[in-house]
């Protein structure tokens, strides 16, 4: 397979490591009775450029590489890594980590390695997809054109980042599985001032592509116009209401609701350990029958997509909730084996220096039947939340929050006044049971999500149609 050969060159050969050296390290790991062992090689290039105050003040560039060595025995894991991809160091790491195996019999788990899977993105190096001068010119053009959009704009910040990640997973069956992962992101944020009042607006996007993504159509300026629009709305915003009320969530990025309310709670590790509010609830109703939610790592070019996960398993479109019934969890290899199910291609890690665990890819709700306008019309008094910042969940109690950054009051079926951002809080296992209308306008987010879990960050996507929830707590100041 040419991709694997390319990555073997860029990681193994570049460090004078031969395939038989990888076999030697693996033999060391397998010299004790283990259930699984892998070596994860990685080489990453990253750059960022940022503009503020009208000038491109700085850029950064980084190159990192290394290898992580892991053995798993039962539910025990031994792990070591090094930024030096050298045989003696990898052998020492292998010897250290196998100490986790203290007793037990020869494990008999046959692992199956996939031999083909779709490539969801091209093996591009985004850093070299545009000349440095053109990156600068793009930032400057966006800055200049954004400033013309509204005379109240006081500051414009534009950033451009790209990553080029080569990974190679060596598994205990001797297989070597490679992936080349491009990722780009652009962000525009503005500060606007009117009568001494100062507000911010921000918009960005990207995906597993190269910089040409931002040059297609007028995408860069679309981000800018959206950032300006949000700041304009926020300049008019009044105090947000406080208390329990009907909430309508807009399509797209508000799907962060799904990520926080149910996504984390459906990750295999928490459920294997019984620490999630969703533990042991497969087959039970956890949402209204209007709701079908999937985690889909197979969408071409999306920020949260992967051709293979970080354990070499091809990603899947995993149904989490179907017509309101909990169907299953997201799994990596370790938790899948311990729970007696199949891995779902959700084994992800931030880098070679981190252990893989079950993580989301692109989590979204399938479209329903309702016209979005009809949904608004059905609300006598409530909140329409169109944009969000981040969120957080306590997977054990099920309580989750997400913070609106653009919201409006709904009064008698009409969107009326904009209100300040507020945090919404709810309970994961029952919030979706209160979904009474699902729009026909499913949207994925623009490609900005980053998810944090146990100190590890990975890029993710979310999406949903317009949703009506009959009662959520809105954390405003107006009682």
């Amino acid at each position: 397979m040419p991709l694997t050969e390319q990555v073997k060159q860029s990681i193994l050969a570049a460090n004078s490591l031969l395939p038989r050296d990888v076999d030697r390290v693996m033999s060391t790991l397998l010299s004790v009775p283990v259930d699984a062992a892998d070596i994860y090689f990685q080489s990453s290039h990253f750059e960022s450029w940022s503009l503020e105050g009208g000038i491109v003040k700085e850029g950064t560039h980084s190159i990192e590489h290394g290898a992580g060595v892991r053995v798993v025995s039962g539910d025990k894991t031994g792990f070591a890594y090094s930024d030096r991809i050298e045989l003696p160091i990898l052998l020492e790491a292998a010897n250290n980590v196998k100490a986790i195996v203290r007793q037990g019999q020869q494990a008999q788990h046959r692992i199956q390695t996939a031999d083909s899977w779709p490539q969801l993105y091209r093996p591009l190096n985004p850093l070299s997809s545009l000349a440095d001068q053109d990156k600068i010119d793009l930032l400057k053009r966006v800055d200049a054109e954004t400033r013309k959009l509204d005379s109240r704009i006081e500051e414009v910040m534009v950033s451009l980042v790209a990553a080029y990640d080569n990974v190679l997973v060596a598994n205990q069956d001797g297989s070597l599985i490679a992936d080349v992962r491009p990722l780009v992101r652009m962000n525009v944020s503005v500060i606007m001032v009117e009568n001494g009042r100062r507000e911010q607006g921000s918009m960005g996007g990207g995906g597993r592509s190269d910089y040409s993504y931002f040059l297609e159509g007028d995408r860069a300026m679309d981000f800018a116009r959206e950032a300006v629009r949000q700041a304009q709305v926020n300049l008019q915003a009044e105090e947000a209401p406080a208390g329990n009320m009907t909430v309508v969530l807009g399509p797209g990025w508000p799907g962060i609701l799904l990520h926080e309310a149910i996504g984390h709670g459906l990750e295999g590790d928490f459920n294997r350990k019984g620490t999630s509010a969703f533990s042991g609830r497969v087959g039970e109703r956890v949402a209204s029958d209007l709701c079908t939610v999937v985690d889909d790592g197979t969408l071409p070019g999306r920020r949260g997509s992967l051709s293979i996960d970080d354990e070499g398993t091809p990603t899947e479109n995993t149904v989490l909730i179907e017509n309101g019934i909990l169907k299953g969890y997201m799994q990596d290899k370790l938790n899948a084996r311990l729970m007696g199910v199949k891995p779902t291609g959700n084994g992800r890690r931030e880098s070679y220096a981190h252990l893989p665990m079950p993580r989301m890819t692109n989590t979204y709700m399938l479209p329903g039947q309702s016209d979005p306008e009809e949904i608004i019309l059905s609300v006598k008094k409530g909140l329409y939340a169109r944009n969000f910042g981040g969120g957080q969940v306590d997977i054990t109690s099920g309580k989750f929050v997400f913070s609106a950054s653009e919201a409006y009051l709904i009064e008698n079926g009409k969107i009326t006044r904009p209100v300040k951002g507020a945090t919404l809080i709810g309970n994961g296992p029952d919030v979706l049971t209160k979904v009474s209308m699902v729009g026909n306008d499913m949207q994925l987010d623009s490609g900005v999500g980053t998810c944090g879990k146990e100190g590890q960050s990975v890029p993710v996507g979310v999406g949903q149609p317009t949703l009506k929830i009959d009662g959520m707590t809105v954390g405003g100041t107006s009682l």
Binding site: D75, I136, Q200, A277, K399, S403, I425
Partner: protein, 443 residues
């Protein structure tokens, strides 16, 4: 306890980078090299779960061509890689715009005294001993109360690192430091009424860690206390931030008075220098040279000398938090805070925690906050919370699924009291903080 050979080895690499930058035409440069080694062991349900060996290194260089700046970093310290890294930084600098404020610090401000701050206490611990400690910690939690029903495990961490920084003005310094921790997280209850909480102890010197047993029992105690939590009705009431939550509140204040927020005009405290931002009994000061402190350092990320100073006294903002760049943008002088503050101390008041509960009287004690609902530009604050409902100074019952909201500007001005129940685990040392009133949203 500083291994001078290791520091010397890193200094040599940093000097090589600086020389290479000069070679490639940079008019000025700065470089940092850090190495960190560690062991992390976790135990769950009475047995080891993971053993992780950590070994990280990173090297970063910033070059200037006049007023143009570029940065690059790598974890590969081979000679070829260092050359390539400098080349990448130089290439970026050539494309970056002229920025009249860019450049190295004023040489007169660089640190010249380097007292031993007693930051390095390697822990002579192997995986086996660490496992024993983690198991002891988790067992203490699991056996503390019958209500403890499950566990996320206990973790023992030991890290030791060396950091060297140098610039083309001739500054080249390094030091070693260590950081060790024990933490534990357990669950109580079952089904729809499960709760989870945790506790941790962290110290530079392992001898100063709380015992494994104490950490486990405290985690269990905190978890059990959360059982049968209810929501509250929507209301206004006084709010007491427990010390570990109060440090977040002070963190938001620091963000608003830091140079990068100020020159971008993205702060709710613009132009607040010399004005009243807190009640007049509040003093906040920075003490960078505390022996053994978690945030101690004799110089900042640019080599500028740190110094003890008041940031707020009599409730009046006396100093911003500035790096060389942000200071120049604001027409001021750096405060030695490139990379952040070093031991920020909110002067404690008279009352201990029980006394603070008494002062609260009837209201909300917040022990956990969720989400990022803090707008630094406007000061608007709205976050998910859990904690306890308090009446007449006595804890009544746990609460959850509520939000607390307000505006930081008035929240800070309306601080009623600060406790002496100071949390010493972090870089911000503060006791519990009582706010006169916030909006609570609930069922």
């Amino acid at each position: 306890m500083q291994n001078q050979d290791e520091i010397q080895r890193l200094k040599h690499v940093v000097q090589q980078l600086l020389d290479e930058a000069k070679q490639q035409g940079a008019t000025a440069a700065e470089a940092a090299f850090s190495v960190d080694n560690g062991l992390s062991v976790s135990a769950r349900l009475g047995d080891v779960e993971t053993i992780e060996y950590h070994c990280d290194q990173g090297i970063g260089v910033t070059v200037y061509f006049g007023r143009q700046k570029g940065s690059a970093s790598t974890n590969d310290v081979s000679a070829d890689s260092l050359k390539e890294t400098v080349k990448a930084a130089c290439s970026i600098a050539r494309y970056a715009s002229e920025d009249e404020y860019a450049g190295l610090p004023d040489p007169a401000l660089l640190a010249t005294e380097f007292p031993d701050l007693d930051l390095n206490h390697p822990w002579d611990i192997n995986a086996e001993t660490a496992i024993t400690l983690a198991v002891e910690c988790e067992n203490a939690a699991r056996h503390f109360d019958k209500a403890i029903s499950n566990s996320e495990g206990a973790t023992v961490n030991s890290h030791q690192g060396t950091r060297v920084f140098g610039n083309s003005l001739g500054f080249l310094q390094g030091y070693q430091s260590s950081r060790h921790s024990i933490s534990c997280s357990v669950l109580a209850g079952s089904g729809d009424s499960m709760q989870r909480d945790y506790w941790y102890s962290v110290a530079r010197n392992p001898a100063l860690l709380e015992t494994a047993r104490f950490v486990g029992e405290k985690a269990a105690q905190r978890t059990v206390a959360r059982l049968n939590a209810r929501s509250l009705s929507t209301r206004q009431c006084p709010v007491l931030f427990a010390p570990e939550m109060a440090s977040g509140l002070i963190g938001s204040l620091l963000g608003a008075i830091s140079g990068s927020s100020l020159y971008r005009k993205s702060s709710f405290l613009l132009d607040s220098l010399d004005s009243q931002i807190l009640p007049d009994f509040v003093r906040i000061h920075e003490q960078p040279l505390l022996v053994g402190g978690m945030g101690s350092a004799s110089y900042d990320a640019e080599g500028v000398a740190t110094r003890a100073r008041d940031i707020v006294s009599d409730g009046i903002l006396r100093s911003y938090i500035l790096s060389t760049y942000s200071a120049r943008k604001l027409g001021m002088q750096t405060t030695g805070n490139a990379g952040g503050v070093h031991n920020l101390i909110v002067e404690p008041g008279e009352q201990d925690f029980a006394g603070m509960l008494n002062l609260l009287g009837t209201g909300l004690l917040v022990t956990e906050l969720m989400g990022q609902g803090v707008n630094r530009v406007t000061g608007d604050y709205s976050r998910g919370a859990s904690g306890f409902w308090v009446e007449n100074g006595m804890i009544q019952y746990p609460v959850q699924e509520i939000t607390i909201a307000g505006n930081l500007k008035s929240m800070l001005r309306n601080i009623v009291a600060i406790g002496n129940d100071v949390d010493l685990r972090g870089n911000i040392r503060v006791g519990s903080i009582l706010l006169e009133q916030m909006a609570i949203a609930g069922e």
